[in-house]
């Protein structure tokens, strides 16, 4: 048995080959073993693209290690290719010397031609740089399942479990979880259950007996901070964060949502938690989804709408109403590659400016962004804190990479979660002609929040709307000075959030860095991994990552001015302004931020970022 400190595996096959499930299972086995890990599912938007074609390839990448890691990894050490298309689509990403496990049964003349192979790559020497393991996965699975009361097609379908069994042996993964999982998943179909279990075991046994793999590998558990861990994806963590926020605010959770990739799993997840008083409303469209949420917020719920970029565009007018009504609302945007429909299953972080400016009039909203799958839990709580304390819509930015990717999560203790209790208005707060009146736009002097006066509270009957309101009374007002005051006040209220957020954390281990890498959102992992590489190579570099995009932390300008160069890597182009965040920090702080921008629908590779950072450092000297 050979020791390894980390391994990157990519499972790739046809959309119908069950690669996401295989990856999920291997991830769960790996998590329960105690490795640190990070995953990257990468699949087409088509549910079943034509079999055997390049667009139909679905992949799942997993990086696991005996130490803490930050990304799903740049170059797989192992590729499992279930057909020629999967090999062709993924070969370019492999490191030389990588193990390539191919399902030879699928390397038929027709399948090879379909993806443009003139000759069989398993035979023409073109894979010499790799350690190829040609295995007849399909026929061995069918052979192992002889005598089962299932069709040949059903037997073939279990080949992913054969592959999982083989990989589980190769990396010494615990198998109890998968056995339990298969028993539960196919509880209603004994034959299929037994077939899958048998295929899984057959894959494991094949690993033990074949001489093709001379060794198996051991990756020791990672030394993470003590505590109880689970593996969690971004959408799941975000959903849990909302349920937790509901409990910590003491407000019932209401989600208005319309199905959209890659945000739908939040709707699916929250619909399971009625036990926690969660109401989920699948609306007729994105506008109704946010409208219903705003209505629920008016009624005193912790109101949320979840969507992706196209949906955020449709919700813009209602978010503006929320700004004007000054009601708490959480708008979750799980970003995907745009514009328009773009690439629904591919990631991007190009909605920052939409979140910031995408409404009519001046309609400022706080913006919070998640940096990792597990961080989606904390940012959901933070969005709820800001929304309820300041009575304002808050946009929470996640993205497709965070939504579907996963990592180990130190499960928090409920008692340690922030106390977010909210007080509704209960009595008139003013006087007119000697009698008590309710003034819906009389503000808290510190937060500038107006009272949250929910229907059903006697004495607080009042009318509000999207028309400009007079300060304090909330009556319709077209007074020029009042409008100027109200626009400034709504802006000041958002800026007041800055006083409640911690100073920006800067990671600069040597304290001598002259270059700061500033990021936001899901680039946290790749930037962090790249900075480690740069430091490992002997250079100094500092990293800071923004959770709050509006307002920025109060000390951001000071931090930026402390470095000779500021590099801002972003998965957006920035409309010719050098990156969306870069544009904002340039405009606000007059700092010459250097953008590094890629919009490929995939996370940055640590390797490429390390090169970019190194170049910036070298330019200085």
């Amino acid at each position: 048995m050979e020791q390894r400190d980390r391994v990157i595996i990519r499972f790739a096959g046809d959309s119908g080959d069950g690669m996401q499930l295989t990856g999920d299972r291997f991830t769960t086995e790996t998590a329960s073993f105690g490795n640190d890990l990070s995953t990257l599912p990468d699949f087409p938007a088509e549910i079943r693209a034509p079999a055997g074609t390049l667009p139909g390839v679905s992949a799942f990448q997993l990086h696991f290690a005996d130490h803490d890691i930050m990304t799903p990894g740049d170059r797989p050490d192992v590729l499992v290719a279930m057909n020629p298309a999967a090999l062709k689509a993924n070969l370019g990403d492999l490191a030389r010397g990588a193990d390539v496990i191919v399902n030879t049964d699928e390397f038929t003349g027709r399948n090879l031609t379909r993806v443009g192979y003139a000759a069989n790559p398993l035979e023409d020497g073109s894979l010499e740089a790799y350690n190829v393991h040609p295995i007849a996965l399909t026929s061995m699975t069918v052979e192992a399942l002889k005598g089962f009361d299932i069709t040949k097609k059903e037997a073939e379908r279990a080949k992913n479990m054969f592959a999982l069994g083989l990989l589980s042996w190769l990396y010494n993964r615990p198998t109890e979880g998968t056995v339990k999982f298969l028993k539960a998943k196919f509880a209603r179909n004994e034959a299929i259950m037994q077939a899958n279990l048998t295929a899984f075991e057959a894959g494991w046994s094949f690993g033990e007996t074949t001489e093709d793999f001379s060794v198996s590998y051991e990756i020791k558990p990672a030394r993470l901070p003590t505590g109880t861990y689970r593996n969690i994806s971004g959408n799941l963590a975000l959903s849990y964060g909302l349920v937790a926020a509901s409990q910590r605010t003491g407000l019932p959770l209401f989600l208005g949502s319309y199905p959209i990739t890659p945000a739908s799993d939040i709707l699916h997840e929250l619909s399971k938690h009625k036990r926690f008083g969660v109401r989920t409303f699948q609306a007729e469209d994105e506008i109704a989804a946010v409208g219903a949420a705003l209505g629920a917020a008016y009624g005193g719920s912790l109101a949320v709408t979840s969507t992706s970029g196209p949906g955020l565009a449709l919700k813009a007018e209602t978010i503006g109403l929320g700004v004007s009504l000054e009601l708490p609302l959480i708008v979750v945007d799980v970003q995907r590659a745009g514009p328009s429909t773009g690439m629904p299953t591919k990631t991007e972080q190009a909605d920052l400016l939409q979140a910031m400016f995408g409404r009519n009039g001046e309609a400022p909203v706080p913006i919070v962004a998640s940096r990792s799958p597990a961080d989606c839990f904390d940012t959901a709580l933070e969005a709820a804190r800001i929304a309820t304390a300041f009575r304002v819509p808050v946009i929470l930015l996640s993205d497709g990479y965070l939504a579907n990717g996963s990592e180990p999560w130190l499960v928090p203790t409920v008692d340690d979660l922030p106390d977010l209790r909210v007080a509704f208005a209960t009595a008139p707060n003013g006087e007119e002609d000697g009698r008590p009146v309710f003034q819906p736009y009389l503000r808290d002097p510190e937060t500038l929040a107006r009272p949250w006066a929910v229907p059903g509270t006697a004495g607080l009957e009042h009318r509000i709307g999207g028309i400009e309101k007079a300060d304090i009374t909330g009556n319709i007002s077209y007074d020029p000075a009042n409008h100027d005051f109200m626009v400034r006040t709504r802006q000041a209220k958002v800026e007041a959030v800055a006083a409640t957020i911690p100073p920006l954390e800067v990671e600069d281990p040597s304290g001598h860095a002259r270059v700061l890498v500033l990021g936001w959102g899901s680039t946290y992992g790749p930037i962090g991994a790249a900075c480690r590489r740069v430091r490992h190579a002997g250079s100094d570099v500092a990293q800071a990552h923004l959770r709050h995009l509006n307002p920025f932390p109060a000390d951001l300008g000071e931090v930026l001015r402390g470095y000779d160069k500021v590099l801002v890597p972003e998965m957006n182009l920035g409309y010719g302004f050098g990156g969306q965040l870069a544009m904002l920090v340039r405009a606000k702080y007059l700092v010459d931020a250097i953008g590094y921008n890629q919009v490929r629908g995939l996370p940055f590779k640590a390797e490429e970022l390390a090169t970019v950072i190194t170049n910036v450092i070298e330019d200085l000297s």
Binding site: R230, N231, L251, E284, L321, T457, R463, I476
Partner: protein, 359 residues
Amino acid sequence: MSETFPSLSLVPKARDKQSAKNFKTDQEVRWCPGCGDYAILAAVQSFMPTLGLARENVVFVSGIGCSSRFPYYMDTFGMHSIHGRAPAIATGLAASRPDLSVWVVTGDGDALSIGGNHLIHALRRNVNLKILLFNNRIYGLTKGQYSPTSELGKITKSTPMGSLDSPFNPVSLALGAEASFVARSIDSDRKHLTSVLQAAAAHRGTALVEIYQNCNIFNDNAFEPLKDPGTRDDFTIRLEHGQPITWGADGGQGVVRDHDQALKVVDVASVDPAEVVVHDAHAEDPSHAFDLSRLADISLARTPIGVFRDVDRPVYDDLMRDQIERSQQGGRTPGATSGASEDDALGALLAGSDTWTVS
């Protein structure tokens, strides 16, 4: 009075006797002098006290348009929202607050044009909302463009040679959208309007009340045949559940089913009285109500008013609440301050079933 309305059983009652005055705000009413909205406002303000509901548990939500100013004049909770979206906003409110009586005020442009999608889906879902659709067949607030209920060929500022699109029949549309309650009334007929409002309030689920409303600036006298003493009896069919459908001087006109089951207008004197169709607002099959909605054409001849349809159907917010209650088993109040057991439940959710410990 409200005791007779099980539909409002979850809404707290007023402690003191109310009058129309209690529902008036201090805001100056700013519709054009002579606008039909005044009459509707007065009717609603004097109708609300008859429900005997706590004023703070009544909410009016509107969209955009002349009619949508309505909430400012009702001393209840109110929201003047954005164009077309009131049914969506009210859906979220009603679905999360069963203790509220939620009313939507909208117009023909707001409800049927920009907000058409939300209207049909609110009706389909049967959320506990009362929707008052003020239909004046014109855009008033934007100063006189044709609306989705204007007659084909309507000459307006935006259609100098006449409009090119055929109008909606709001009652037919609502019935097609599976509405469980559909009625029509007229701004000038306070008594009839009040009776229809009562029936709507008594209905659990979404109620759509189309109210013909005169815009005396941009589309004056649009409904005159239904109001003019000389024509109104011949033009108006007053629907009453369980009564034969007749109208005109001395009830001389009526409808029967012809051999292919279509409604046919006849002289009542010329047929067996038993053949005259009796109105059944509770008919399960909506085709009876739909047939009635097609009796009138755009000229308003043979316009039925009253309750076309009033049937019991599962109510969205009741079903939603029921699912939550069943999931909570012990009947925990949603959003109650977390106690120890709630913290345990949340802790169990967060941990899930596959954990490992680093020590």
